[in-house]
């Protein structure tokens, strides 16, 4: 749940504050997860080391992978970013490295349930408030400028590629942390880390929660993940119900819950004034 919240956060951040539509959230999860898994299993590093290394290393690798695609915009970037996790999936499968299709198991897990539950909640909250603050700092304003009009930013003497790179690095660090966390939560790392779920569900959460609000996607994830589990009772029909709910939202409330409530709140305030 916290993982999807983190992924939804970075999707919202990249899409609505930097103008990069990144559909490949699984890329961050996968690189972060595999790095921490490999470090823990092959080199025997403890958990407190593997997670930070995986966070930075995964961010570095993801950013390097996405770097050549940064000049392309909009839907084209979205498709390339969607391709990357699928590509890495096939590479690991074909070369049979890092445990191949079986994955690497028997990794270190968190010492007790308190750590693994509260750690992710703390990280989600810290990330949420850090990103909220970032987008109103001068650095964040440049990123929002790139989203609104990248040509004007270039005409202001600022390298947009450099700023986009920094934004992607921040986002992929968060995503890689989520991947490393997931690895140690299950004590197992495998190909499912590159699965489409990690790319699609955060987008659904963002649509549901409200684009461009940052807090909306977190709420959306907190709503969608339990729903996902409840719908499991329907078996294969789960995806159908799930899609129906999403379609309903896109058709009837495309602005998302958070924007809707914000608007209502402002109307309400105004009403009292008069």
């Amino acid at each position: 749940m916290g993982i999807f919240a983190l992924l939804a956060l970075i999707f919202d951040f990249l899409t609505n504050f930097v103008g990069i539509v990144n559909l490949g959230g699984a890329l961050f999860i996968g690189t972060g997860g595999y790095i921490s898994g490999v470090l823990n299993s092959y080199f025997g590093l403890p958990l407190v080391l593997t997670i930070p290394i995986a966070t930075l290393g995964g961010a570095l690798i993801s950013t390097l992978l996405l770097l050549p695609c940064l000049p392309i915009r909009g839907i084209y970037f979205a498709i390339v970013s969607l391709m990357y996790p699928l590509m890495l999936y096939r590479i690991i499968e074909a070369l049979n490295i890092f445990g191949g299709t079986d994955g690497i198991s028997a990794l270190a897990t968190f010492p007790n349930i308190w750590v693994d539950q509260y750690l992710i909640i703390a990280v989600v909250l810290i990330t949420l408030f850090a990103l909220r603050r970032l987008v109103n700092e001068d650095f964040g304003l440049v990123l929002r400028g790139i989203k609104d009009n990248d040509q004007a930013v270039r005409a202001s003497g600022i390298s947009i590629t450099w700023y986009k790179t920094q934004a992607v690095f921040i986002a992929s660090a968060i995503g890689s942390f989520a991947g490393a966390y997931l690895t140690h939560l299950y004590g197992w790392v495998g190909l499912s880390l590159f699965a489409l779920d990690f790319s699609i569900l955060p987008i659904a959460a963002t649509v549901l929660g409200g684009m461009g609000t940052l807090v909306g996607p977190v709420l959306g994830a907190f709503f969608l993940t339990p729903l996902n589990e409840i719908l499991r009772a329907f078996g294969p029909l789960r995806m159908v119900f799930y899609s129906l709910i999403l379609v309903a939202f896109i058709v009837f409330k495309p602005e998302g819950l958070m924007n809707y409530f914000q608007r209502k709140y402002h109307q309400f305030e105004h009403w009292i004034e008069v």
């Binding site: 001068d138 304003l141 270039r154 003497g157 600022i158 947009i160």
Partner: protein, 252 residues
């Protein structure tokens, strides 16, 4: 006026498909002058600006400025040298308020270098700059969202975005178009003041009367070629210009 040449454009050409948008254009820009570029629609004026500022790479020809070959540089590097431009189609950062729009250029490496890291409060600098260019602070205009501003203010915001960079050369692409007469009347003194402050300007215009009032030199383009160059008076007397551009008015 000293005759220090800032920008040299040498034989620049650019085609889009089969259309020669800019065909073998050469001119010099002298420090402190206002150079007007006029021409009918589609005569390649904006493409020329795009080439100078690096947004479009020419097929042939070169542009030099400040000892650098601009045609080899990225747009943001050219802006970093102090050559900045306004866009014909204004797209401010809509989600930000007017003064926050200026934070972006104020955050650029060029301004950081120029101020030696001691710019102080960027918000205050931005609001001062906007007030100078005609945003009434008392009416809280600088605090309004850019999406809520009318045309005239957007044009000013566009110009302010350039000025925030403390440029040496401003290339204004149709600064006066789409404005009412009274708005233009307030814009002209702003342009004149920029020149007095020692800035060099290239102005692309359709509003000939206002342009001829402020420009020192005018270049006329038609079908991507330079057909005349000289003082506003010389250009107005030129027969080819009359035929290509002003002649149409005589027919009407």
């Amino acid at each position: 006026m000293s005759q220090e040449v800032l920008v040299q454009v040498r034989g620049v050409s650019k085609s889009f498909g089969g259309v020669k948008a800019v065909n073998n254009i050469s001119f010099d820009l002298v420090k402190g002058e206002i150079l007007g570029i006029i021409g009918p629609n589609g005569s390649g004026k904006t493409t020329l600006v795009n080439i100078i500022t690096g947004f479009v790479k020419p097929d042939s020809g070169k542009v030099f400025a400040m000892g650098k070959e601009l045609t080899k540089l990225e747009p943001h590097k050219i802006a970093d040298l102090g050559i900045t431009r306004t866009f014909q189609i204004m797209r401010p950062y809509y989600t930000l308020s007017a003064f926050k729009n200026l934070i972006v250029p104020l955050y650029s490496p060029r301004v950081k270098r120029a101020s030696g890291g001691k710019l102080g409060d960027r918000d205050a600098v931005a609001i001062d700059l906007l007030e100078e260019i005609g945003f009434e602070r008392d009416a809280f205009v600088p605090y309004k969202l850019a999406s809520a501003l009318p045309q005239g203010y957007l044009k000013r915001l566009e110009l302010a975005r350039c000025l925030a960079l403390r440029p040496e050369i401003v290339i204004a692409d149709e600064l006066f178009s789409g404005l009412s007469m009274s708005e233009i009347a307030t814009m002209v003194p702003i342009v004149e003041r920029l020149q007095m402050d020692g800035m060099t300007l290239i102005m692309i215009e359709h509003r000939l009367r206002e342009l001829f009032r402020v420009a020192n030199r005018v270049m006329v383009m038609n079908f991507g070629e330079k057909i005349a160059e000289g003082t506003p008076e010389e250009v107005m007397e030129n027969e080819t210009v009359k035929e290509a551009y002003l002649g149409m008015e005589a027919v009407v």
